[in-house]
Amino acid sequence: MVLKAFFPTCCVSADSGLLVGRWVPEQSSAVVLAVLHFPFIPIQVKQLLAQVRQASQVGVAVLGTWCHCRQEPEESLGRFLESLGAVFPHEPWLRLCRERGGTFWSCEATRRQAPTAPGAPGEDQVMLIFYDQRQVLLSQLHLPTVLPDRQAGATTASTGVLAAVFDTVARSEVLFRSDRFDEGPVRLSHWQSEGVEASILAELARRASGPICLLLASLLSLVSAVSACRVFKLWPLSFLGSKLSTCEQLRHRLEHLTLIFSTRKAENPAQLTRKANTVASVLLDVALGLMLLSWLHGRSRIGHLADALVPVADHVAEELQHLLQWLMGAPAGLKMNRALDQVLGRFFLYHIHLWISYIHLMSPFVEHILWHVGLSACLGLTVALSLLSDIIALLTFHIYCFYVYGARLYCLKIHGLSSLWRLFRGKKWNVLRQRVDSCSYDLDQLFIGTLLFTILLFLLPTTALYYLVFTLLRLLVVAVQGLIHLLVDLINSLPLYSLGLRLCRPYRLADKPTALQPRGAHLPPPQLWLPPQALLGRPVPQAVPWGAHLPLEAERGQAGLRELLARPAPPHGHGQPSALPGWHQLSWRVSRALWTLLCAPEHRRPCYHTLGLEVIGSEQMWGWPARLAALHHWHCLPWDPLPTCCGHHGGEHSSPRCPEHCPMPTLRTQVQRVRPPQQPQVEVALPWLWGWRDLPRMNPPSPRHPLAPSAEQHPASGGLKQSLTPVPSGPGPSLPEPHGVYLRTFPAEVAL
């Protein structure tokens, strides 16, 4: 029988004495917690052990003797140590001996019942294992005390030896509270015996933090109550609040501060880490903001900036005018329709003229505005960056307007074209049945329809070109804003505290062994998902073209989402995850945005304005023109109603994202729906669309997407229907009845 003795490294150089610890009979291991030195009075020792047992619920006892002397112990010492075995009865009795200044160790374990004849099967072999008490305590790999089948001091056999050791050491903290400067009846040696670890600053901070937290928490609750009042929910303010990223960021920061200064203690290490990360991020933010403030306000840089701003705006407007002149001529050698060209060009030129006059009106106030904006940097660099992004959005508002006009025109044209094309073929869209039916038109209807069709068709290149040019410009602006928002998100979500711990005290970040992990059908909370590679929280891809800004992803309990990098699955469909560098992601996002702009879903369907899910009716899927026909840009206009997603908010949202668990398949709820695997089809379908990094229990999707629209004809529904299987209604009951075709959103894939 092998007996394992866990010995703390701090006691290796301690003087001779008694071994105090706990014996775990199931694993036949002895965990030594401390060494009790001579001289002692046995009664007092027993009293102390009883006290510790009561306070910590750990069966602490005297396990044996520890001898640290110059050479082999003399006869008298040997007999004395043996007699101690009679005073403190314990089975088995450990005898550890170390030669001072040498490397000779001797370990014996004797049992009273079995005869201790050498070679008898009753003799135990001792395996001595050293453990670092300090690191074991601080690594917090402790059994949670909330397991239902726990008894005080008992461990189940399945938890394993090491879990028992960690548990014992952790719960015996009472024993470690006395150090050698305490005047107690006994003298102990353990990891804190040289002095209990504490720092004055930490203690002071802890004492002071109580009332400070209370005060700040009340202040913050006041602020949040004010901001939640009804005035801000009325139309103009709520709309502004949702569109401006500054308000979003301020709200975010308010949440963070509320978390930090909440008077509730963190219940588990994960929450503590979260709080600490938030504190670190806020501190970094404010520090960077103050640096920016000092840089801006020194040497009248604001003046220079303000002076440079208006000429830059003028220059941009001039460049736009040149661009329009170029379009009105023969751009890239294409021959435009002269009349339409002139009309559109003049229309846009007039807008630019208006815009320039507005800028000139505003120019005296620019410096003041910039000065105040610079002041806001003391709230944090993120606020300043969000303000910058908003200023860019406001300054390039004319580009946005041009994009909207071009898009509307193009959309109208495409709808008209598609409808008239159907007329040309003798078909009609049946609204009742939601499909294309044949129809017999009158002759004059056919005549006029064909005429209009021809007109629209030949005017298409002009409109398409304007649309393309302005969309690219808008994408440029959006890309710049996206970069700024990326930076803001990085500062918001970088877990500096964890990074610092990993560099300086790696044992604090030990992972939970499987015996300690929560098990069961429920999902683990998001913060336990942290895969080590994704230390930098990446924002989930936003709906880039929809809306005037890129909404920041709020971190409300969605830490798990952040860790999932959206990556484009390679065109040939391997499920192997690989991390993309940041610029790859951005270019991917831009190309994806372009793709979704050109091939957005049909406007009659409820639209899911997220970059992944595109539901296209089956009858529309015959080639590029039909896909172009299914454009929808209603939501790019500010006065359009936001997509109503669910009934339980009364359909009103101040932001296009539904924070609650909402059947509308926005980005967030997609995640929440996929996780409990209901139907394998949905699980396999969605990774293609979202580009999951790695789902825990997922087989890599098959190389060919099972629901890919292949070119074979569906026998049951004739005509030009592609073969589609309606996807079961995984992503949400608000989907219309199964037209559900999930298209892969890669430009390379869609060529049908």
Binding site: K4, Q27, Q125, I129, L162, T514, R519
Partner: protein, 188 residues
């Protein structure tokens, strides 16, 4: 007790296997990989420096030469610290677990410890490695959810890559210990 034998790895290099038998329930196997050969080091250094000299004659910028020297030095240090593994050790303790240590040429050691409760079995597996079929020893870990499933396969001696004869020696010893452990764990 201790004994040492020499084997060869899959590319033909010499490996030394040191077996230490501490007790019926505790064994250690130590595989030493061939050291960094002077020939390959000289070859790489000469290539890099010749390339740098070629660039220098094109660009007439002497920074290229110093940059090449720095790159060579840093590359060598990085290689010794992060890539070149000198020794791989496998320590099996019956009741505690299995520990794998890799020590790098710069002295760095990286350790992995697997509790015995998680270990299902140790097997020799075949794998297709480039154009070869090789054998490797691996530890199968239990799946906490499914009792007969395997959650993970942990290969051992990944950088030494010994051949089958060496693996059989290690495998036999490990199986003895695992059998011993199962016998003692099932008996109360």
């Amino acid at each position: 007790m201790e004994d040492e034998r020499s084997f060869s790895d899959i590319c033909g290099g010499r490996l030394a296997l040191q077996r230490r038998y501490y007790s019926p329930s505790c064994r250690e196997f130590c595989l030493s990989c061939p050291r960094l050969s002077l020939r390959s080091l000289t070859a790489v250094t000469c290539t890099v420096w010749l390339a740098a000299y070629g660039l220098f004659t094109l660009c007439e910028n002497s920074m290229i030469l110093s940059a090449a020297i720095f790159i060579t030095l840093l590359g060598l240090l990085g290689y010794l610290h992060f890539v070149k593994i000198d020794q791989e050790t496998l320590l099996i303790i019956d009741s505690l677990g299995i520990q794998m240590t890799s020590s790098y040429a710069s002295g760095k050691e990286s350790t992995t410890f697997i509790e015995m409760g998680k270990v299902k079995d140790i097997v020799i597996n075949e794998a297709i490695y480039m154009q070869k079929v090789i054998y490797y020893l691996c530890i199968l870990l239990k799946d906490p959810v499914e009792p007969h499933g395997i959650s993970q396969v942990v290969p051992v001696f990944q950088s030494a890559k010994p051949r089958l004869d060496c693996l059989i020696e290690v495998y036999r010893s490990c199986q003895e210990i695992l059998a011993h452990q199962k016998a003692t764990s099932t008996s109360p």
